[in-house]
C-alpha cells in the first residue's frame, strides 16, 4: 500500500511528477476500502466503476496538460451530498433507495476540479447524532479503537480519513458534525463560515447552521480543498457572494503576535481533565510559535446546547416534512388511506433520534410554545453570536477543546440522550454564530486522539488555517495513524 495516510498535497506532487497515476491511487483506495470497510463500516456505498473511469479520465487529462491541484485525487463524500446516479441515503431507511437526478454544488465543484469520488461515507441518520450510531446502515467504528465511536455526524468521513481509506472526505457541520468526529478520529476538519460553501444538494438538517467542509489529514489539505468547494452559488441564496481567497497561499503568513483567545467557559467541569491537559499543552505550543494567549469569556456558552437543541430540531421538523411517502423515498406497505400513508411511512422510515427531533421541533414551533421556546432560542442565539463577535474584536482566533472527551464506547448505555447532546457543547457556538472553526489533532489520551478547536472571525478562514498549518509544522499529532490489521 503506497497511498494510504498520504496527504492531498503530497499526492498532488506525486501525480504531477508521474510517480503515481490516478488509476493506481484509485485502485489502491478502493482495495483498501473493500479490505477495511467490513470492520469500520465507514463507507455506505462505493462506486468502483465510476471511480475507475473518472481516474482514467483524470490521467488522460493530465497527459493533455491539465494540472489542476486536485486532479485525480480520490475522495469520499458524506452520504448527505446528492450525487447524480449514485445512491444518496442520508443514512436513513427513508432514502435507502434514493438516487438524486443532480449533483450537489460541492460534488459538482470537486468533480470539476478533477477529484475522484470513491463512494459515500457513513453518518448519523440525517446528520442527527454525535456518534454515528443512528445510521440506518449500522454504526461506524473508530479506527483507533474499533470498540469506540468515531463521533458524528460525519463519523464515516472521519473514520475513513483516519484509517487511510481516502486522503479526503467531505463532511457537514450543523452543531459540530465535522469537528467532533475529526477530534475523535485524530484528523483535521474545517467547518467554514456559514454561507462560505453552497448548501445546494446537501440534504438539509438545520438550514440556518448547516455548512459543508473538508475533512483531511492536514490544514494544508483543508485549505486546498476549500478553495475548490467555496464560493457564491446562484442555487443557494444564503451562499455569500464573496470572493474566495487562495487559502493555500496564506498558510505561511506570519502568526507572530496573533492574539488567541482562550475562553474560560471551555475549560469547565464538562471537560475531561486529561483532554484539558492536552489542550493546554497545545495552547502553550501556539504561544511558543509566537501567538499571544488572551483570557476571554463567552458567558453564554452553557446556554448553547439548549439553544441549539431548540432551533435545530425546529428547522429539521420542517425540512424533513417532505419525506412523506408520496413522491419518493420510503413508503409503507398497503396504506389504507392518506393518514395511514403518512403515519406509517414516517414512523417506519425514520429512526428514533430523527423522530425525537421532529417531535421536539414541532413542539417548540407550535403556537402555544413558539414564544417561550423558539423565539427565546432565537434571542439567545443572537446574544451568543454577539458574545463571539465581541471577543473576536479583541482577539484574532478563539482556541479550546473540540470535544469534552475522547472517543467513547459504542452502545454505551450509560450515556443518556442529553449526555450525547453535551458532546457538542464547545462546537455549537460557532454554528449559532455562523463562524468558521476547525479541529486539529492535539494529542493522545489513553491512545485516543484529542482535538483542538480554532474558531475564527466570519470569513476569517485564513486565520485559523494558517495557525493550524503552522502548528502542524511543529507538531506530529496529525501524522499519527491508528494500527489496523489488513486482511491479506
Amino acid at each position: 500500500m503506497t497511498s494510504s495516510f498520504q496527504t492531498v498535497a503530497s499526492l498532488r506532487s506525486k501525480l504531477a511528477n508521474r510517480d503515481v497515476s490516478s488509476v493506481e491511487l484509485t485502485r489502491d483506495a478502493l482495495a483498501r476500502i473493500s479490505d477495511l470497510n467490513p470492520e469500520l463500516n465507514a463507507v455506505i456505498s462505493s462506486s468502483e466503476e465510476n471511480a475507475m473511469k473518472a481516474a482514467t479520465q483524470a490521467d488522460e487529462a493530465r497527459e493533455k496538460g491539465n494540472d489542476s491541484p486536485l486532479l485525480g485525487i480520490p475522495m469520499l463524500h458524506k452520504d448527505i451530498f446528492c450525487t447524480q446516479g449514485l445512491p444518496t441515503t442520508c443514512a436513513s431507511k427513508m432514502l435507502a433507495n434514493f438516487v438524486a437526478p443532480y449533483d450537489a454544488t460541492v460534488v459538482r465543484r470537486l468533480d470539476d476540479a478533477g477529484m475522484i469520488t470513491l463512494g459515500k461515507s457513513n453518518m448519523d441518520e440525517f446528520a442527527m447524532g454525535s456518534s454515528n450510531e443512528t445510521s440506518y446502515f449500522g454504526a461506524c467504528k473508530n479506527p483507533w479503537d474499533t470498540s469506540r465511536v468515531p463521533g458524528g455526524s460525519s463519523g464515516g468521513s472521519a473514520s475513513a480519513v483516519a484509517a487511510g481509506l481516502a486522503p479526503l472526505a467531505t463532511g457537514t457541520d450543523t452543531g459540530g458534525s465535522i469537528r467532533q468526529p475529526a477530534a475523535l478520529c485524530g484528523i483535521t476538519g474545517l467547518k467554514p463560515t456559514y454561507g462560505r460553501v453552497s448548501r445546494y444538494g446537501m440534504i438539509a438538517f438545520a438550514s440556518s447552521m448547516d455548512q459543508a467542509g473538508p475533512m483531511a489529514r492536514t490544514a494544508e489539505d483543508c485549505a486546498l480543498v476549500l478553495e475548490a468547494m467555496a464560493g457564491a452559488d446562484p442555487l443557494d441564496s444564503t451562499c455569500a457572494d464573496q470572493s474566495v481567497p487562495r487559502y493555500s497561499s496564506h498558510l505561511t503568513d506570519t502568526i507572530e503576535g496573533m492574539r488567541v483567545g482562550v475562553p474560560k467557559e471551555f475549560f469547565s467541569s464538562d471537560l475531561n481533565s486529561d483532554v484539558a491537559a492536552a489542550i493546554e499543552a497545545s495552547l502553550a505550543e501556539l504561544e511558543g510559535m509566537g501567538a499571544k494567549l488572551v483570557d476571554v469569556s463567552l458567558p453564554s456558552t452553557s446556554l448553547g446546547v439548549s439553544t441549539y437543541y431548540i432551533i435545530a430540531p425546529a428547522e429539521a421538523s420542517a425540512n424533513l416534512s417532505r419525506y412523506d411517502g408520496v413522491r419518493y423515498g420510503y413508503r409503507c406497505e398497503n396504506p389504507v388511506d392518506l393518514q395511514d400513508l403518512y403515519l406509517r411511512s414516517r414512523s417506519e422510515g425514520f429512526g428514533d433520534e430523527v423522530k425525537r427531533r421532529i417531535l421536539v421541533g414541532a413542539f417548540t414551533l407550535s403556537a402555544a410554545s413558539y414564544d417561550e421556546y423558539f423565539m427565546k432560542a432565537q434571542q439567545v442565539r443572537r446574544l451568543i453570536a454577539q458574545e463571539y463577535d465581541d471577543v473576536l474584536s479583541q482577539v484574532d482566533v478563539i482556541a479550546g477543546p473540540s470535544a469534552p472527551n475522547t472517543a467513547f464506547a459504542l452502545n454505551d448505555s450509560s450515556k443518556s440522550i442529553t449526555d450525547m447532546y453535551m458532546e457538542d457543547v464547545f462546537t455549537i457556538g460557532a454554528n449559532l454564530a455562523g463562524l468558521p472553526a476547525m479541529s486539529i489533532p492535539a494529542g493522545l489520551v489513553g491512545g485516543l486522539p484529542v482535538g483542538m478547536q480554532l474558531i475564527g472571525r466570519r470569513f476569517g478562514e485564513v486565520d485559523i488555517l494558517k495557525l493550524a498549518h503552522q502548528f502542524q509544522q511543529r507538531t506530529t499529532w496529525h501524522n499519527l495513524t491508528p494500527t489496523l490489521e489488513e486482511r491479506h
Binding site: 443532480y102 444538494g201 440534504i203 438539509a204 438550514s207 443557494d236 425546529a314
Partner: protein, 480 residues
C-alpha cells in the same frame, strides 16, 4: 331584528411571471401533468428555493396600485402542514412581515358611488399542486405543474356588508390587476381565487359573530349565491338558538348549499417560522419610486377622466374601465372620432353584445378601434343613417376593415343632397294629391302621424338612402 352580514375577503392572485416564484420552471397553464416541474418543485432532498424577483416587483406594483405601504423589509416564512399536493410539507409564505401593508382601495359601485375597502395586507406565497382524481382508476395522482406558481394573497378588513359590495370589489380588483399587468385574473383557470369570511350579527351590534370561511369560489355568479346560501344557513342556526362553528366550507353550486370541509384545519397549528433558506427581501425607496413612475394610469384615475373630461356618465365610465383592453379600445375610438359618447354607446352596446354572443374578448374580435371610429365619423357627417351604420358594423364584424369601401360596395350612401331630395319630395306631392289634401286639413297632432306616409314613400323612392332629418325638414316645408 335584522341580521347584518360581515364579510372580509382573501383573494389569491396568480402573478403573471414567466417562471415560478422559487424555481425556474414555467408557469404556463395547461401543460401535461408534471411537465412544468424540476427537482425543487418536487421537493427533492437538497434543493433550495431561489426567489424570482419579478414576483416581488409585481407585488410592489399591486401595493402601489392600492395605495398601500410597501414593506421595506419583508420575509418568507414556512407554513407547515401535510397535504399530498404540497411537496415540501410546508408552504413558503409571508406570515410575519408581508411585502404589502395597509392601504385603501376605492371600489366603484354600480350606482356610481365609491365604496372604500381597507386592504389589511398582501403577501407573496407559492401555490400548491393539484390532486388529480380522475386520471388513474381508484388512485389519486399528483400534478405539480402549479406548485410554486407565485401568488399574491390580498386580505381585506371585514368591511363588506352586502354581496353587491363583494362582487364590485372583485370586479374592481380584477380590473386593477389586469391594468397593472400583474395577473391575467382568469377565474376559470384559477388565476384569481376568492375566499369569503362571513359572519352574521344583529344590526347595530358592535361585536362580530363567529365566522365561516367559504373557499375558492371561482366565478362572480357563484359568489353572490354562495354568500346568500351561507348567510341563510347561519341565520337559521342563530335564530334557532344555535352557534355557528368556525370552519372552512365549500359552496356546491349544484346542490346550492355550503358544505363543511377540512373542519380539522381550523384547529390546525401551522407552526409558522422564518424560512432559513431565504434572505429577507429588502426594497429601497429608489426601487419603489422607479416602479411607481412606470405604473400605468389606474382604473380610478381613468374613470374620473372619462367623466370629467369626456363627459361620460359614472355608469358608462365604470363599465368602460372594468378592464384595460376595453378602456384602451374606447380611448382609441374616442380620440379618432372625437365623439366619446357615441364611442361609449357603440362599445357598451353592439360591440359588447356581439362579444357576449360569440364568447370572445375584444382582443380576439376582428373589430379594430380605427374602423369603429371611422364608422362613427360617417354617422356624424351624415353619410350613414343609424340603420345603415348597423349594416356596416355587421360587415366590420365579419372581417371587413374599410368603412368607406363597405359603404361604396353596399351602396349605402345616405342622400343628403338637397336638390336630389327636393326632386323626390316634389314628385311625391304631385303624385299624391289626396294625401296632401288630407295632411293640409289636419291639425298639428294628426299631421305628425300623417307625415309618416310621405317619409315612408320618400325613403322607398330613395331606396332607403335619404337622410331622414333632412327629409323630414323638407317635407314639412313643402306640405305646409
Amino acid at each position: 331584528m335584522r341580521w347584518e352580514k360581515v364579510m372580509g375577503l382573501e383573494v389569491h392572485l396568480q402573478l403573471a411571471t414567466q417562471s415560478k416564484i422559487f424555481s425556474s420552471s414555467s408557469t404556463t397553464f395547461g401543460a401535461d401533468p408534471n411537465n412544468h416541474t424540476n427537482p425543487l418543485d418536487m421537493a427533492l432532498p437538497g434543493t433550495l428555493p431561489v426567489l424570482n424577483h419579478e414576483a416581488v416587483t409585481k407585488a410592489i406594483i399591486f401595493g402601489l396600485g392600492v395605495g398601500a405601504e410597501i414593506g421595506k423589509i419583508s420575509r418568507f416564512d414556512r407554513k407547515n402542514y401535510f397535504y399530498p399536493d404540497l411537496p415540501k410539507g410546508y408552504q413558503i409564505s409571508q406570515f410575519f412581515e408581508p411585502i404589502v401593508k395597509e392601504g385603501v382601495f376605492d371600489v366603484p359601485m354600480p350606482d356610481g358611488s365609491i365604496f372604500p375597502v381597507r386592504i389589511l395586507r398582501a403577501h407573496l406565497e407559492e401555490d400548491a399542486g393539484k390532486s388529480v382524481h380522475d386520471a388513474i382508476p381508484d388512485q389519486t395522482g399528483i400534478d405539480l405543474n402549479r406548485a410554486g406558481t407565485p401568488l399574491l394573497e390580498v386580505v381585506t378588513e371585514p368591511d363588506f356588508r352586502t354581496a353587491d359590495q363583494v362582487v364590485a370589489y372583485l370586479k374592481a380588483l380584477h380590473a386593477l390587476v389586469t391594468y397593472l399587468g400583474i395577473s391575467d385574473g382568469n377565474m376559470a383557470e384559477g388565476s384569481m381565487r376568492c375566499d369569503v369570511n362571513l359572519s352574521l350579527r344583529l344590526e347595530g351590534e358592535e361585536e362580530y359573530g363567529i365566522r365561516t370561511e367559504l373557499k375558492n369560489i371561482n366565478s362572480f355568479r357563484f359568489i353572490e349565491r354562495a354568500i346568500y346560501v351561507e348567510a341563510e344557513r347561519q341565520q337559521d342556526i342563530l335564530e334557532s338558538g344555535g352557534e355557528v362553528t368556525q370552519e372552512t366550507r365549500l359552496f356546491d353550486p349544484d346542490a346550492d348549499e355550503t358544505r363543511s370541509m377540512r373542519s380539522k384545519e381550523v384547529a390546525n397549528d401551522y407552526r409558522y417560522f422564518p424560512d432559513p433558506d431565504l434572505l429577507p427581501v429588502v426594497v429601497d425607496d429608489t426601487t419603489i419610486e422607479r416602479i411607481r413612475a412606470e405604473l400605468p394610469e389606474l382604473p380610478a384615475v381613468k374613470r374620473a377622466r372619462f367623466t370629467d373630461q369626456l363627459g361620460l356618465s359614472q355608469y358608462d365610465a365604470s363599465l368602460l374601465t372594468q378592464d384595460r383592453a376595453t378602456a384602451e379600445f374606447f380611448e382609441a375610438v374616442s380620440a379618432r372620432c372625437n365623439n366619446p359618447k357615441s364611442a361609449a354607446n357603440w362599445i357598451l352596446g353592439d360591440v359588447s353584445a356581439n362579444l357576449n354572443k360569440s364568447g370572445t374578448t375584444l382582443n380576439e374580435s376582428p373589430l379594430v378601434a380605427e374602423t369603429l371610429a371611422d364608422l362613427i365619423i360617417r354617422i356624424d357627417d351624415g353619410t350613414l343613417s343609424s340603420k345603415m351604420a348597423k349594416t356596416v358594423f355587421d360587415a366590420l364584424w365579419d372581417g371587413s376593415s374599410d368603412v368607406d369601401e363597405i359603404i361604396e360596395q353596399k351602396g349605402l350612401k345616405q342622400v343628403s343632397d338637397t336638390g336630389a331630395l327636393e326632386t323626390i319630395v316634389n314628385d311625391l306631392i304631385a303624385n299624391n294629391p289626396a294625401q296632401v289634401e288630407q295632411y293640409r286639413a289636419a291639425d298639428e297632432g294628426k299631421q305628425k302621424k300623417l307625415i309618416g306616409f310621405f317619409v315612408g314613400q320618400a325613403m322607398k323612392a330613395s331606396k332607403g338612402q335619404a337622410n331622414p332629418q333632412m327629409l323630414n325638414q323638407l317635407l314639412k316645408e313643402k306640405l305646409s
